[in-house]
Symmetry: C2
Subunit: 348 residues, 2 copies
Amino acid sequence: MQTIHDLETPSVLIDLDRMERNIARMQGYCDHYGLKFRPHIKTHKIPAIAKMQLAAGAVGIACQKLTEAQVFIDAGINDIQIPYNIVGPQKTARLADMSMYNRITVSADHPSVVRGLSEAAAAANGTIRVMVDLATEIERTGASPDEAIELAKQIDSDDHLHFAGVLVYPSYPSIRPRLQELLDGLHQAGIGVDSVSGGGTGAAFTAHEVPELTEIRVGTYIFNDWNTITAGWADVDDCAMTVMATVVSRPAENRAILDSGSKTLAADRVADGHGCILEYPDARIYKLNEEHAYVDLSACEDHPVIGERVQIVPVHTCVVSNLHNQLYGVRGETIEEVWEVGARGLVW
Amino acid sequence: MQTIHDLETPSVLIDLDRMERNIARMQGYCDHYGLKFRPHIKTHKIPAIAKMQLAAGAVGIACQKLTEAQVFIDAGINDIQIPYNIVGPQKTARLADMSMYNRITVSADHPSVVRGLSEAAAAANGTIRVMVDLATEIERTGASPDEAIELAKQIDSDDHLHFAGVLVYPSYPSIRPRLQELLDGLHQAGIGVDSVSGGGTGAAFTAHEVPELTEIRVGTYIFNDWNTITAGWADVDDCAMTVMATVVSRPAENRAILDSGSKTLAADRVADGHGCILEYPDARIYKLNEEHAYVDLSACEDHPVIGERVQIVPVHTCVVSNLHNQLYGVRGETIEEVWEVGARGLVW
């Protein structure tokens, strides 16, 4: 039986007890409020983990790219939402093809995006399922309520498109007035709304305060990370992912260097650091090079020695998974699972 | 014949003319000054490209991890420097094994690191080549000159270690006094110095001002990026790597969203942005999510439309290569090479 001591460093460990608890808690919340739950697999990119989420009661998955979706289709998962504008003749043709035998739903925030989807669906003599993407406070993608109503009409009147509802990200309660405006407009236009899909780990546990929502998409909740802790959405005990690293240099009294740089932890930064070292919570990872983490020990009572192993809660789990070929599922120190990160690096 | 228009986005393109010019220029500089040149392959992680660097005159390669080195050994490259403390019984045993049939050279900055290497080499009844790592102004790893002299004695007197010289990173001229202090001490101790290896793209073209150096290790020079341009080490015309992306949303007059987020460009940031869009140099990539780049168009005369493709010079090439499965070598718009990123994600 292999243990974490048999692994090289850096390696990414997943605490199975915590992950299972995180899965159960989110599904339980959604079940309690009658919300459908659709995990976003960008956080782990591993079909076996998605199947655990589905077994717990999820209705399907969300992912961000067509190539990601294909990995999960190949693993037998067929209800996939891609909350993204799929643009360009190659991608829309591929989407039309994938939609023949799978329930794929995409989003759109502009008439030209809808036209592209329509042309591809018509060329394949198929149907593409399309939600309208409502703009939110983060000012990323999305249409205004008025624009979204027009888009819904465009989709609904197209023989080769199916209007699949409304998408918002993130779905904080502050979105309600705009969401109601859109839903009222759709009602007046006589357009039925299958689904109102919200999202975001931060907005997850207030979803019941947005009764318009029928489902939520959440990714990071399954592992949590230093971002979600810093935002107050999780505790350290909720963090299922750690990066196991080795102290490879102690060049000064208050400096340690770990073998986990930006190619391991990603360059994301929060609260003035690149993650939390569980054994030395007062230490600060103040800088990363590609294969070096610089650690300031000046606030620490104990100092690590060269060769010592530590576990780091990373800043952003989703980009960490994407940097690694395997994640190791552990219970205590025992390795129970070695998962290939199946959709790692799939950006198309 | 495939062209870049046949590729999906985001894709990473390598301009072969520029890459070949960058290889020739650096090798020419080193040849002119009688410096050995050792490209650091962390920038591309592709054996076929390393072979082009060797064919141009490089003496070997540098890489940062044992698993990376193995990919290049398997491709037939046998002179590999790993400027890193290799720590822990599993890694040192693997290093001893790899050193049996290959010229592998590592560095050390502490007696305990040297002891670990010695034990592994003795257990394998082999020899490990070890340089001393001299601390520099960046305050990463490295020993002081006095400590380095003691380390060199420790290495030199060990039956299973070979003292392979001195390593500095970066090797700006400001390091000379400390380097001379170390070299004087080694001379007085009667310890011969095979090699004095400097490094860093920024320090590359001043290496002749550090006559103590016998070789330099440089990585980023082969592609260049927005970091090297911002630092004044390269021009836009020297940038061989671009990320081809698509405008997927235009949700506001002065905002565009590209399909190249932090899983494509990495989260690195310089000069208030995440890279330069060649077609819209006045645009600013001000924020990245995993699969979205947020672009501010307010300073642009022309604005892109949905579906338009652009090419981005990324902030840091080395972390971009590591995120992708393939790089595409192009001449004009024709794809001449499709390289698998062989050592991508190898962090051990």
